[in-house]
C-alpha cells in the first residue's frame, strides 16, 4: 500500500505541473491583454504624465516581449521570488504571510463548524429520505446554496451588529480591548456565513451519497448479520458515503485557506481574501497573480488529497 501511495503521489504531482503551467499562462495573458496592461490604473490618472508611464513601463520591464516577461516571472516564481507589491513596494510573500493567520483561523473554524452541521444533517436526510427531517434539511440546504453570501453577510450585520448590537460588524478585534472574548465575538458572523454556505452544499452531496450507499448489498448484509443499526450507519454507510463528498469538501477547503474573498471583504476580516479585493482595487497585479496561483495550487493539491483519502476509506476505489 505504501509503495502504491508513493507512486500515486508521484504520478499525480507530475500531472499537476502542466496544469498549473496552463493556469499561469491563462492568468498572465488575462492581465496583460487588458487595455493598458498592468499600468492601466495610471492611464486614467491625470496627474501621471505619459512620459512617466513610459519610464515606469521600462523600469518594470513591461516593454519587453510578452513571452520574455512571462518567462522571467515564471522562473522567479518557481524559485520562490514572488516579486514586489505594486502598491506599497513590499515583497508579495511578506504581504501574504502577514494575512495568513487570520485566514487560517477563519477557515479552520468554518470548516469544523460546517462538518459538524453536514454530517448529522446529511446522514439524517439520506436515511429518513422523504420524511419531514429530509424535507426540512433539503429545503434549508436549497435555500443555503441559493443565498448570495455577501447579502447574507449584510443581513447578519443589520440584525446582530447595528440592530441588536450584540456583535461587532467587522474587523478581527477591537483596538485596545482585544482579549479572547472580543476575538471570538468578531469571528462569529463571518464564520456563520461560511458555515451556512458550505454546510448547505455539502449536506446535499452527503444525502445523495448516503442514499446510494444504503442501496448497496453490503449494507443489507451487515444488517442481516444482526449488527446494530447505529453501528451499520457509522461503520458501513457513513464510511463509504463520505468518499465522494470529500472531493467537494476539499475544493471548498482550498478556497477557504487561500482566502474567502466575499466573506472576508464584507466583514473586513484582515485575511488573504481581503488582500485580494484590496489588490484588485489598486490593480496590484503581482499580488493578484500570486494569489490566483496560490488558490489554484491549493485546489490541485487538495483534490489530490481528496482522491487519496477516498481510496483510503473505501478499499474498492483504486488509486489512479
Amino acid at each position: 500500500m505504501g509503495n502504491q501511495v508513493a507512486r500515486f503521489l508521484a504520478r499525480r504531482s507530475l500531472q499537476a505541473l502542466p496544469l498549473l503551467f496552463v493556469i499561469s499562462v491563462l492568468v498572465f495573458l488575462l492581465i496583460h491583454a487588458a487595455p493598458g496592461g498592468p499600468l492601466a490604473i495610471y492611464l486614467a490618472n491625470p496627474n501621471v504624465r505619459p512620459e512617466d508611464i513610459e519610464r515606469l513601463r521600462r523600469a518594470l520591464g513591461l516593454d519587453r516581449p510578452l513571452w520574455v516577461q512571462y518567462w522571467s516571472w515564471l522562473t522567479a516564481f518557481a524559485r520562490g521570488d514572488w516579486g514586489y507589491s505594486f502598491s506599497d513596494g513590499r515583497p508579495v510573500i511578506a504581504r501574504i504571510a502577514e494575512r495568513l493567520p487570520a485566514t487560517l483561523e477563519l477557515a479552520a473554524v468554518s470548516l469544523a463548524g460546517a462538518l459538524l452541521v453536514t454530517l448529522p444533517a446529511g446522514v439524517a436526510a439520506g436515511v429518513r429520505r422523504g420524511r419531514w427531517v429530509d424535507r426540512a434539511t433539503s429545503a434549508l440546504a436549497t435555500a443555503g446554496i441559493s443565498l448570495p453570501a455577501f447579502w447574507f453577510g449584510l443581513v447578519l450585520q443589520i440584525v446582530f451588529a447595528t440592530g441588536l448590537g450584540w456583535l461587532p460588524s467587522s474587523g478581527r478585534s477591537t483596538p485596545g480591548a482585544d482579549d479572547f472574548g472580543d476575538h471570538v465575538s468578531h469571528l462569529v458572523l463571518p464564520a456563520l456565513v461560511l458555515i451556512v454556505v458550505q454546510a448547505a452544499a455539502w449536506s446535499r452531496y452527503l444525502r445523495g451519497s448516503v442514499i446510494d450507499t444504503l442501496a448497496e448489498p453490503f449494507v443489507a448484509a451487515a444488517r442481516a448479520r444482526g449488527i446494530p443499526r447505529r453501528q451499520v450507519l457509522v461503520r458501513h454507510v457513513l464510511r463509504n458515503a463520505i468518499g465522494p463528498v470529500l472531493a467537494v469538501v476539499m475544493v471548498d477547503a482550498a478556497l477557504l485557506v487561500s482566502g474567502a474573498v466575499v466573506t472576508e471583504s464584507v466583514f473586513a476580516w484582515p485575511g488573504i481574501g481581503s488582500l485580494f479585493t484590496e489588490a484588485l482595487a489598486r490593480r496590484d497585479y503581482t499580488v493578484l497573480m500570486a494569489l490566483l496561483m496560490l488558490t489554484s495550487t491549493a485546489i490541485v493539491v487538495l483534490n489530490l488529497v481528496a482522491d487519496l483519502a477516498h481510496a483510503l476509506v473505501d478499499p474498492r476505489v483504486a488509486l489512479t
Binding site: P18, L19, L20, V22, I23, L26, V27, L30, I31, A34, P35, A40, R129, G130, T142, A143, I145, S146, L147, P148, A149, F150, W151, L154, V155, Q157, I158, T162, G163, G208, I211, L255, S258, V261, V262, S265, F276, T277, L280, R283, L288, L291, L292, T295, S296, I299, V300, N303
Partner: protein, 258 residues
C-alpha cells in the same frame, strides 16, 4: 415542477413589463424624498438620490435575469461543443480538452472573473460572455461522459452500421440522449450566473451605475447599512427568490430522489 416555474415566469414577466408596471422611472431623482423608509408611496423605500427602490429592483431584474439566462446559454453551448467533441472523438482530442477543463476547474471562478471585469471594464454583453466562459466546464464533463457511454450502445452502433455520418450521429442520436443531463447542468449555470453577476456588481466591477442591477444596488446600500437597512433587503430577497426557484427547478429536472 410547477411552483418554481410559476415564480420564475412571474419574475420574468415583471422584468419584461418593468417600464409599464414600475411605479416610477428607475432614474427619477427626487431630492425631496431622500432615504425614505418603505411607505405606501414607495413600497421598498427610496435611496440616497430619492430614487424609488421598487422601480430599480424591477428594472434591475431585467439585467440580472438576462445575464443569468444568457450566460448559461453561452456556458451550455460551449460546454456541449467541448464535451461533445471530447466524448465523440476520444483519444488525443479528448485528452487535451479534458486537461483544459481540469485547468479551468482549478482556477477560482469568482476571483478570476473579478480580475477580468476589473481590467476589461465590460459592457453587459461582454459580462454575459465572461460569466459564460467561466462556467462551461461542468456541462462539458457531463456531456462527455454521456457521449462516451452512449457511443457503445446498440442504437448508436446500428445507426453507424446503417451508414449514418458524424453529423447525423451527433445531432439525431447522441445529443437528444445527452440532453437531459446537459439541461440540468445548464439550469444550475443560470443560478450561478445570477449569483456571479450580483457578486461582481457588489464589488463594483460588474454592471456599472447608474444602470440598476440587484448586485450594484447592494453595493450602494453598504455605505448606509446602519441607517437605511431597507436598501439592502429588497435586492437580496429578489436574488434569493430567483436562484432558489432555478435551483428547485433544476433538482426536479434531475429527478432527485424525493
Amino acid at each position: 415542477m410547477r411552483a418554481p416555474l410559476v415564480v420564475l415566469a412571474l419574475l420574468i414577466a415583471a422584468a419584461v413589463a418593468a417600464p409599464v408596471i414600475a411605479p416610477y422611472e428607475p432614474d427619477r431623482i427626487d431630492l425631496a424624498r431622500l432615504r425614505q423608509a418603505p411607505s405606501a408611496a414607495h413600497w421598498f423605500g427610496t435611496d440616497e438620490l430619492g430614487r424609488d427602490v421598487l422601480a430599480r429592483v424591477l428594472h434591475g431584474a431585467r439585467v440580472s435575469l438576462a445575464v443569468g439566462l444568457l450566460s448559461a446559454l453561452v456556458a451550455g453551448v460551449s460546454g456541449i461543443a467541448i464535451g461533445g467533441a471530447a466524448g465523440y472523438r476520444g483519444g488525443a482530442v479528448d485528452n487535451v480538452l479534458m486537461r483544459a477543463t481540469d485547468a479551468m476547474l482549478a482556477v477560482p471562478r469568482l476571483p478570476l472573473l473579478m480580475i477580468a471585469s476589473s481590467f476589461l471594464q465590460p459592457s453587459v454583453m461582454l459580462l454575459v460572455v465572461l460569466i459564460g466562459l467561466a462556467g462551461w466546464m461542468e456541462t462539458a464533463r457531463v456531456v462527455r461522459a454521456e457521449f462516451r457511454t452512449l457511443g457503445s450502445r446498440g442504437f448508436v452502433e446500428s445507426a453507424r452500421a446503417l451508414g449514418a455520418g458524424h453529423a447525423r450521429l451527433i445531432v439525431r442520436h447522441l445529443l437528444p440522449s445527452a440532453a437531459q443531463a446537459a439541461i440540468v447542468s445548464v439550469t444550475l449555470a443560470v443560478a450561478r450566473g445570477i449569483l456571479l453577476e450580483s457578486a461582481l456588481s457588489f464589488f463594483g466591477v460588474g454592471v456599472r451605475p447608474p444602470q440598476a442591477s440587484w448586485g450594484n444596488m447592494l453595493y450602494q446600500s453598504q455605505a448606509t447599512l446602519a441607517t437605511e437597512p431597507w436598501l439592502a433587503l429588497a435586492p437580496g430577497i429578489f436574488i434569493l427568490i430567483t436562484t432558489a426557484s432555478v435551483n428547485v427547478a433544476g433538482d426536479r429536472l434531475a429527478g432527485r430522489r424525493r
